[in-house]
Amino acid sequence: MIPLIENVCVTKKEWITHEEMMNITVVAESTPGPIAINCATYVGSKKKGFWGAVAATLGVTLPSFLIILMISFFIDRFLEIKWVASAFKGIKIAVGILIFDAAVKMIVKMKKKPLSIIILSVAFIAMMLINVFALRVSTIVLMLAASLAGLFVYLIKRHKNGEASK
């Protein structure tokens, strides 16, 4: 997705610079939501203010919106066909592998600090338990706990460094 956005917004239309594109990527990775939306909103807003942002965001959403809307109208009937249902039983297996692989890719890219590895492992075990025993614990609780842990460790470290330099 990012190379495509870069190609249109930076190279072809010259709406934003490469530098700006890098900035958006960093912001998008640090904030929730899809990167394509962040990007469209930024470019639209820069070119034409609020309504430019609305127009660009609508533009980037509309094609997939229409495609999925159409699919949603006929997929149930489509799934009643026997061979299609069998195909989707196979596809379900691929989805598990793809999600697992997405996590593996993120692990490869991650900076492997001890704290990150501990948090990742604890989150994995907690989430497995939540799933297997159908516990009513939101992933947001896990995310919040991890953020706080990161914050505390950072503050403690900074405090210690401050003492040492005195």
């Binding site: 939501g33 939306i37 959403t61 809307l69 196979g90 691929a94 989805v95 793809l98 996590a103 947001i140």
Partner: protein, 187 residues
């Protein structure tokens, strides 16, 4: 009422979906199952459809679930709700965020958050593979053909990365899995 629920549910997803396309899936799964909008089985089908069609996965899932629950208005509201936080982030916070990102406190919090999201996604993938193969705790049943397919597809997918750059694309894997599904389960 359902429109309001869709709006709240997807706004929640839009606010907390860190970690890119797949990072959002555990949260979407949680929200969708807790409201009882669609069954787990259908959700994993739609993840495959969303992966094979253009557009971000979480936006596609919002459109689909909105449409199934409340037609075109539902699709519109769910989609708008899921993109609203990302939209507002850029409009309101872009300048503020640029400064924040260099900040040590922000970085430390965010890197821990990201590590947590990775753990959650890993567990979600592992759990989905697990229920395909041996069912859930309440509904334990070993499915040998699913186990064989998981091993075979996993091998094809991960070995392909060693042979060609980046390996086969997710869409190709989905196609292979579909064909294998017809052969294995279609009889």
């Amino acid at each position: 009422m359902i429109l309001f629920e869709l709006f709240l549910g997807f706004l929640w997803i839009g606010c907390f979906s860190f970690g890119g396309a797949y990072g959002a899936i555990p949260l979407i799964r949680e929200v969708v199952l807790s409201y009882g909008w669609i069954e787990e089985e259908k959700l994993s089908y739609m993840i495959a459809v969303s992966e094979s069609t253009p557009g971000p996965i979480m936006v596609n899932l919002a459109t689909y679930i909105g449409s199934v629950k409340a037609g075109v208005p539902g699709a519109t509201i769910a989609t708008a709700a899921v993109i609203l936080p990302a939209f507002l982030t850029v409009i309101v916070l872009m300048t503020l965020l640029k400064k924040l990102i260099g900040n040590g406190v922000f970085q430390a919090t965010l890197s821990s958050l990201k590590a947590c999201v990775i753990g959650i996604v890993l567990a979600t993938g592992a759990y989905m593979i697990l229920i395909n193969c041996i069912g859930s705790v309440n509904n334990f049943s070993v499915d040998y053909s699913a186990i064989i397919m998981t091993v075979a597809l996993g091998a094809v997918y991960f070995v392909s990365k060693k042979i060609i750059r980046n390996g086969i694309s997710p869409i190709i894997l989905i196609c292979i899995a579909g064909i294998a599904g017809i052969i294995v389960f279609g009889r």
